[in-house]
Symmetry: C2
Subunit: 333 residues, 2 copies
């Protein structure tokens, strides 16, 4: 990590929690950035300070939270820049957070390429935060929730959460967003779309980006295919997923996308829907989180962990049937 432990105390003393709180509540972007650094900190001593900050901030459920997912190369960042520009032009404030556990590996981050979101990054109503938590799995959901809470306390109207379409993140993200936008690419003929399993079923909107130049026709074809695929899924919800095309680069189709997105958000933000949905999301997230916590205990339970290893070995060797292995586990006290 290259961190010098001797600097820890100094760093800690640098945190002025009340100052952070007041700054964030006043919408100070520098303080917001520092607050996010605090909640993302891996230093154990920082955690109580982060929790202190979070407990001081008043939760506001007024922000619209949108997840934007798509494979690398789908033009997510350019599209997010267009979307952000659309909102700031209409007086809305926008925060962009990125969840990308691979960003440390690839060396990429949403600000790594200086041309990405450059315009939006300089707008006073926008806040863009690349992921500082790259490479760290497991805590993605918690850190994202906390970052969202900070952005909400800072009063942002829209919070965009960019993910790279890794399964774990989508599962985490679906528990705390109001709307799920997927960015796809034009795929002509026999080319595979490469849409990851399960993601299409979570998307509220799927937009085929790069619908310009000689990809325009392929984009329309992909849109039709996606429409048909969406049509085939069982969906009895009030919102029926839509498929669109756009060119973030040329600014085409953005207005139509934003109108559909607004319609979806309007439905989701109706007070009756929102309270019950966010509660249901929290309970689902809790359900999956406590199971994770409990399963972790299995590995520290000496008898259980040992029996697990014995069972797996016997299964691999073909010595036990599945039911014999499970019978063995049931005997563990």
């Amino acid at each position: 990590m290259g961190l010098n432990p001797h600097f820890k105390a100094d760093l800690r003393q640098a945190w002025d929690i009340e100052g952070l709180q007041l700054g964030i509540e006043a919408g100070d972007r520098l303080q917001l950035a520092r607050g996010i650094t605090l909640v993302e900190s891996q230093l154990a001593d920082d955690r109580p300070l982060a929790l202190d900050l979070l407990s001081r901030l008043c939760p506001k459920d007024t922000s619209r939270r949108i997840a934007v997912t798509g494979n690398p190369g789908s033009g997510k960042s350019t599209l997010i820049e267009s979307m952000g520009q659309y909102w700031v032009d209409r007086g809305k404030s926008v925060a962009v957070l990125a969840i990308d556990p691979s960003s440390n590996v690839t060396g990429g981050s949403i600000l790594g390429d200086k041309t990405r979101m450059e315009q939006l990054a300089h707008h006073p109503k926008a806040f863009i935060r690349p992921s500082a938590s790259g490479g760290l799995l497991g805590g993605v959901a918690r850190r994202s929730r906390e970052c969202i809470a900070l952005c909400e306390a800072a009063g942002y109207d829209i919070i965009l959460i960019e993910t790279v379409g890794v399964g774990q993140n989508e599962t985490a993200v679906e528990h705390f967003v109001d709307c799920f936008l997927m960015v796809a690419l034009p795929a002509a003929g026999d080319e595979l779309q490469g849409i990851k399993r399960g993601i299409m079923e979570k998307a509220d909107l799927i937009v085929v980006n790069k619908a310009d130049g000689n990809l325009k026709k392929a984009a329309k074809q992909s849109q039709l295919q996606i429409k048909n695929a969406l049509h085939m899924m069982q969906n009895t919800a009030a919102w029926q997923p839509v498929a669109l095309t756009c060119s973030a680069l040329q600014g085409e189709g953005i207005d139509a996308l934003m109108e559909e997105l607004a319609a979806c958000l309007d439905l989701r933000m109706e007070p009756s829907n929102m309270t019950s949905r966010r509660l249901a999301q929290t309970l689902e997230a809790f359900e999956s989180a406590w199971k994770q916590l409990w399963l972790q205990r299995a590995t520290s339970h000496p008898l259980w962990a040992e029996s697990l290893a014995t069972c797996k070995e016997a299964l691999m060797q073909g010595e036990w049937s599945l039911d014999q292995a499970l019978a063995r586990l049931r005997q563990v006290k």
Copy 2:
């Protein structure tokens, strides 16, 4: 349950395990049926006898196991009858098992309607077993595995497992079949296909049934839509899922379906593929089963169970955030 406990001892004495074993190994359908009754028995005293029987039978990995799933009304039974007839006409023996936890509720069973599979049911090379385990959740996977083991010991070439497309069963079934066939219905225009989430991604073959009369055109359209949807899913496996149409009632398209099915099975039954796939399936099934077992312990852990309830209540009341609830759980010793 209407069972008279005084009859229990008599019922038990009726089990002649060695006789069952020899009968099943000789391919005696009556003994096979009795063996299945034993492994499906809910009487605690029968379990050791069932395990004794299973341990006596030699596992043979020569049967081809095929799951057939589809919504009620998709004509699964008629199709299975056609498929069974196709195989018995070619000298293969076929066992049909049904997993339908709802059958006790709806009163249906695959033999409930006397016209269903009537021809196949009377063929000497066929064995048809309606689910006697209706309404009992949780043990579906184990009982199905055991019934398959009995049918394999009885020497059946083909084992068809019919399910009604309830999520839990598909998850159970995918761990012990070689091939997954989905039966869909023609859906014209704006009609929803009603394909359940996740199932399309598991299917090796999807056949649009009832492609006859004035549904023929709609069936072709559905086939095309399904082809496109399959195309969109990420799939790097050796077998690329196929979409077909057929009319089980008129016997059209059955030969083409059976040829595709045979091609899929041939690939799956190659010795190198089969051993590694079945081992991988067993390990996956073990992974999900031990987690189930371990999670059950959470509810019997007094402190954990109490904390879980406290957390859920506090979340529902909006008193705690998700992270506060999880922090509480982490403290449970």
